[in-house]
Symmetry: C2
Subunit: 425 residues, 2 copies
């Protein structure tokens, strides 16, 4: 039985208890939100038997962040991807997706799952066409067989692009950037070739049955997510979202856990609407967004353009943020790109949690600021989100054991003057 089916029966599972404990809320609160479809615990039974520690995703609890990793046909290997995963975990990734499209994808995935303490997701479609198999040759059986295999390997959530339908294809012609989702573009190609409906949509009930077996959580993919500001909130995007809303209800009715994926590239003023319309259409199912990027002009800095959008998204309703690294649009991220992406998203998620007053999120800020105000550099740096980087930046030009920094030096330090002043007031 999935977490959802158990929650509906009033059962509080060990995983719900674990999540409740982590979030510092009652287990019954977690159970109720899962039963309502507003919270998921993506926890494949096989991965749970391994090293998975359950993670809850839903707007009622703290914001979670995901790191996409995976080799491409042109770059990286198993060891390199494992190193990226470990960097992402070190800096606070709550989930991981292996999006490999190169190398031995099966071995890479298995290796990552074996070493991964957080939920691991995939886009099973990629494996279905490995080895230069043309997408046109994809069959219903291929889809079911690969999903069954990856479910048995312990993958915790699958991105399934079942919402992009034939009826949406004409809408793509109007777009500036067309289809930028890899899965979405492949399925569109399949539909256009066969003149048939999206195969993932056609066999959606069979997919649900596979998901149910080991409790793999759906992450309903947005094959039509906007790939530039000009395409945001357009007919294609909203048309697909409505189908995702129907599929959410269908999968939940069968007992499957469901998240819904969202944009992408969205102007800052449209983010609130995008979050609210998803929550309405999908009846509060957790929204898993990629950024969104609030401008297209900054390749090389899209961890920043998207962390701005991600903060607004989480504040207005998204509960799960997929990071974007500085190398997005330019190449496969390195381990250091992964670090930068994770830190930008940890900042976005934390800023939203502080703004939403979730749990005791602001305690961290207050503790660090107290250390800062006390000129307690050791504690200040120790509490920093990236102690190594902050320490290096602080020490670079300083003599050891000084209690001030090169910004103002000793006498010009407002913190010191204010500290003395407070004592004399």
């Amino acid at each position: 039985m999935t977490q959802l089916l158990q929650a509906r029966k009033g059962i509080i599972t060990k995983e719900m208890e674990y999540v409740a404990n982590f979030e510092k809320v009652e287990a019954e609160f977690i159970r109720q939100h899962i039963a309502d479809g507003k919270l998921v615990i993506p926890a494949n039974k096989i991965h749970l038997a391994g090293m998975l520690k359950p993670v809850g995703i839903g707007r009622a609890i703290s914001t979670k962040i995901n790191a996409n990793i995976g080799a491409s046909p042109l770059d990286s290997d198993d060891a390199c991807e494992l190193a990226k995963m470990n960097i992402a975990l070190k800096y606070g990734a709550d989930a991981m997706m292996d999006l490999s499209t190169g190398g031995d994808v099966d071995r890479c995935r298995k290796n990552l799952i074996d070493h991964c303490p957080v939920p691991m997701g995939t886009v099973p479609l990629y494996e279905m066409i490995m080895g230069n198999k043309p997408i046109q040759e994809l069959t219903y059986d291929d889809i079911l067989a690969t999903c069954r295999k990856q479910a048995a390997q312990g993958v915790d959530f699958f991105t399934i692009h079942a919402g992009l339908l034939r009826q949406h294809l004409p809408l793509v012609k109007k777009r500036l950037a067309g289809i930028v989702s890899r899965g979405g573009s492949l399925i569109a190609k399949w539909m256009n070739y066969h003149k048939k409906e999206n195969p993932f949509y056609t066999i959606f009930d069979d997919l649900c049955d596979i998901m149910l077996e080991n409790d793999v959580c759906f992450s309903l993919g947005d094959g039509l997510r906007p790939g530039c500001l000009a395409d945001a909130t357009d007919e294609a995007q909203i048309g697909e979202l409505k189908v995702l809303g129907e599929l959410t209800a269908r999968a939940q009715a069968k007992g499957c856990q469901v998240m819904v994926e969202g944009p992408g590239h969205v102007p800052y003023d449209q983010i609130e609407y995008n979050m609210k319309i998803q929550q309405e259409i999908c009846n509060g199912a957790p929204f898993y967004v990629l950024g969104p990027l609030v401008t297209d002009i900054a390749p090389g800095y899209d961890h920043i353009t998207s962390a701005i959008g991600a903060t607004a998204a989480a504040y207005h309703g998204a509960s799960f943020l997929c990071y974007v690294t500085p190398r997005e649009h330019l190449g496969l991220p390195t381990a250091d790109d992964v670090r930068q992406g994770i830190i930008a998203y940890k900042i976005a998620a934390h800023a939203a949690d502080v703004a939403l007053k979730i749990g005791d999120a602001r305690k961290w800020d207050d503790e660090l600021s107290t250390a800062r105000a006390n000129l307690d550099w050791d504690k200040h740096l120790d509490l920093a989100i990236d102690t190594e980087t902050a320490t290096r930046m602080h020490k670079e030009k300083m003599l050891p054991n000084e209690d001030h920094c090169t910004m103002c030096g000793k006498d010009w330090c407002s913190v010191r003057i204010s500290k003395e002043l407070k004592e004399s007031l």
Copy 2:
């Protein structure tokens, strides 16, 4: 006559025309906003006779960004600060502040102004106590003499911390971080020592007369800006803002141009309120904010924590964003820190302009995205906010002359699949 006095008389100056041309609006539109106190052109007559190109600041036109530079007693020199200024200008700084507290501040300032095509601001208080002069010894005459000297040098705007009053000091005791503004902490120390009112407040009318002479624009400093989330939007901050509102009206009545400075560190959910209350209290005078940082946990990444806040701030009413570099709280920024700070703020300002639909801001996004969708890498990289960095990241592992990147390789590229698909639909 200042720009404000001329605007009130219905005169459209050369500077207003220049700004109107840059912003692609009517000159009369600029004149009216200046006359209403909602737009400033900080343009000292001396600097205008040099190399200054006028810049308009106000919410009716595009968002502007400022780079703080300046040597500290422990680090940097004239050449180094000139290099920082040039990096900031290269990446799009609209204004510059020389906050030097070390070295020959007079020579450094003069040198910067001579080479600076954008408005240059200072905090004159710093020069008043150079050479280890205790703040307690500061006299009214010192204040007027230094302001007069810097005005004659061509400084375009002065940060004047005249709003922090004796009555506010008890409020500081309640704070977690006290006073984090350098100027604010020094003036508080002076007031506490002399048991007298803030000297800048006391002689405010005399200061106005100096500002009028060469049309130096006021930047009314927020000596009580919150230095951590816990202190945001507190009694001290709002109390000072109310005084800044009165001073804005007083200075404007005399014919001085006025901007008002704002926070600092503010939780994301309080940013909209902070922007709206300033616009109300200061009757639409341009709001010049430092970030704000939406979390305190990330020293080393405060260009990001603050770019998130700056985007929200500009969207909700601020028109002038003072950058924060990655080294904020840790040390004096290097030239590369300056680059990172400027780019993060250029992103924030542009994202807000796109969201507010100011001018044709989104054209840049659409052009870059069109190049991206066409797999036109040369144009894509050429249009990037930082072509060098984007090109390096793209090329690092690529063979020359390839029309794809290492993220997906050739066959997995959604942009390529989508391009072919669009042609066949």
